[in-house]
């Protein structure tokens, strides 16, 4: 039987990927960003090694243009190539999928009244590949298959925080009914506070972000009730990405324990947040 043991959340700033790809990770600017991932890289190499990662991310006008806007889309293909976002594709390995688990999830979630979009041919952007680089480092092949779960947080309205949390809960039920013995992790990516547009660009709210990190731990579930407008006002227009962290949190069950936590400002325009959570109940 498959099970969800741990969740990871992380920002997915494209400049972090570029810093790694261009060998700048050791520079003074970047060193404090990457230092906060060293614990996780060690942990995930041995004790915390997943068999599969369900990676919740958003596409940034890469695979999905204005012709298709799926609210929740699951990548069910055999593999997903990094796409060209205007700078050429990132020089990272092709992502291997897990079609058996992906289709199982899609079927279960639809029966559980989450009307998923299923995608076989999907190229993935920095939203998905930067978290892989952060956790696994520079590798010739990613160490495990990945099921991409793309969430619309670009065109309004995105799904509510409550809906995201509930999707995570349904995902936990779905994984539990998958017959293979798999250690599944759910990663929630994006955030934390940032705004990439307009005169208000550059907004950062460390206090709010840290309170959000606090409340991912333990058995509280009030984060699911934060309305979109609060993310926008308090954490910038792109801070809305944090609803994706709630899918990860919902998937960990009633209670969590924090194994590792990291927060740093800035990476490019963004506050970097990262947390590793263990499912307790």
């Amino acid at each position: 039987m498959a099970r969800i043991t741990h969740g990871i959340a992380s920002s997915h700033v494209p400049a972090i990927g570029a810093a790694m790809d261009l060998g700048k990770a050791g520079e003074d600017y970047w060193q404090p960003v990457f230092a906060g991932y060293e614990w996780t890289r060690r942990w995930i190499r041995d004790a915390g090694k997943p068999d599969v990662v369900i990676l919740v991310y958003n596409d940034h006008a890469s695979a999905f243009d204005m012709n298709i806007i799926p609210t929740f889309a699951i990548g069910a293909g055999e593999k997903f190539a990094p796409c060209d976002e205007g700078w050429g594709p990132r020089p990272v390995p092709v992502v291997q999928g897990h079609p058996d688990l992906a289709w199982h999830l899609a079927q279960c979630l639809i029966l559980d009244e989450f009307d998923m979009t299923i995608i076989s041919a999907l190229e993935v952007d920095h939203g998905l590949t930067v978290p892989l680089s952060l956790m696994f480092g520079k590798v010739d092949a990613w160490p495990c298959p990945v099921v991409p779960l793309a969430v619309n947080v670009v065109t309004y309205p995105p799904p509510s925080g409550n809906r995201c949390w509930a999707l995570g809960e349904a995902m936990r039920r779905a994984v539990t009914s998958f017959p293979d013995n798999l250690n599944v992790q759910v990663w929630g990516t994006g955030g934390m506070s940032h705004q990439l547009q307009g005169p208000r660009a550059g907004l950062i709210n460390a206090e709010w972000d840290n309170r959000f990190l606090d409340r991912l731990v333990g058995d509280a579930d009030e984060l699911r009730h934060i309305p979109h407008i609060e993310y926008l006002r308090e954490t910038g227009s792109e801070g809305i990405e944090m609803v994706m962290w709630l899918i990860m949190r919902g998937a960990l069950g009633k209670k969590t324990r924090c194994l590792h936590r990291h927060y740093h400002v800035p990476a490019s325009n963004t506050a970097v947040g990262h947390i590793v959570l263990e499912s307790v109940a």
């Binding site: 006008a61 243009d65 976002e85 990439l196 547009q197 307009g198 950062i204 709010w208 407008i229 006002r233």
Partner: protein, 134 residues
């Protein structure tokens, strides 16, 4: 927690210095954004760089939308329905990073903007709401 769509949209317009990518903007900017997407392909980038005006002529946009792109006036592009993730293909093709492109919307120099980010970013104080001024 179900919300009335009219109240929801009104709140989104109440944030200072921010254009939330609502359906209204998305519909207005459809071709601007689709144009920007086309720059994900190398051969299109080459054609675009060779003659921007000619390249834009192929896309059914308004003259002011075309002009805002030629001017790289990102705030204007947002007003006319552009979305920053789509427009990123334009500034990436120009060889600009997110920091360089985003800072042009703030009225600050790139250096001043970067210094602000290194000092912890822009505080939300006074920038949360037009109507409440907090």
């Amino acid at each position: 927690m179900k919300q009335n769509i009219h109240d929801y949209l009104a709140e989104l317009e109440d944030i200072p210095g921010t254009r939330v990518y609502t359906a209204q903007r998305a519909r207005k900017g459809y071709w601007m954004n689709q144009f920007a997407m086309s720059l994900m392909q190398d051969e299109n980038r080459a054609r675009w760089k060779a003659d921007e005006k000619a390249y834009l002529a192929d896309w059914p946009m308004s003259d002011e939308q075309r002009q805002s792109i030629l001017d790289r006036d990102y705030n204007r592009m947002l007003d006319l329905g552009g979305n920053i993730y789509f427009l990123a293909k334009v500034f990436a093709t120009d060889g600009l990073s997110f920091v360089q492109a985003v800072s042009t919307m703030t009225g600050m120099s790139v250096a001043d903007y970067q210094a602000m980010m290194l000092a912890g970013g822009r505080s939300p104080e006074g920038l949360r709401s037009k109507s409440s001024g907090n």
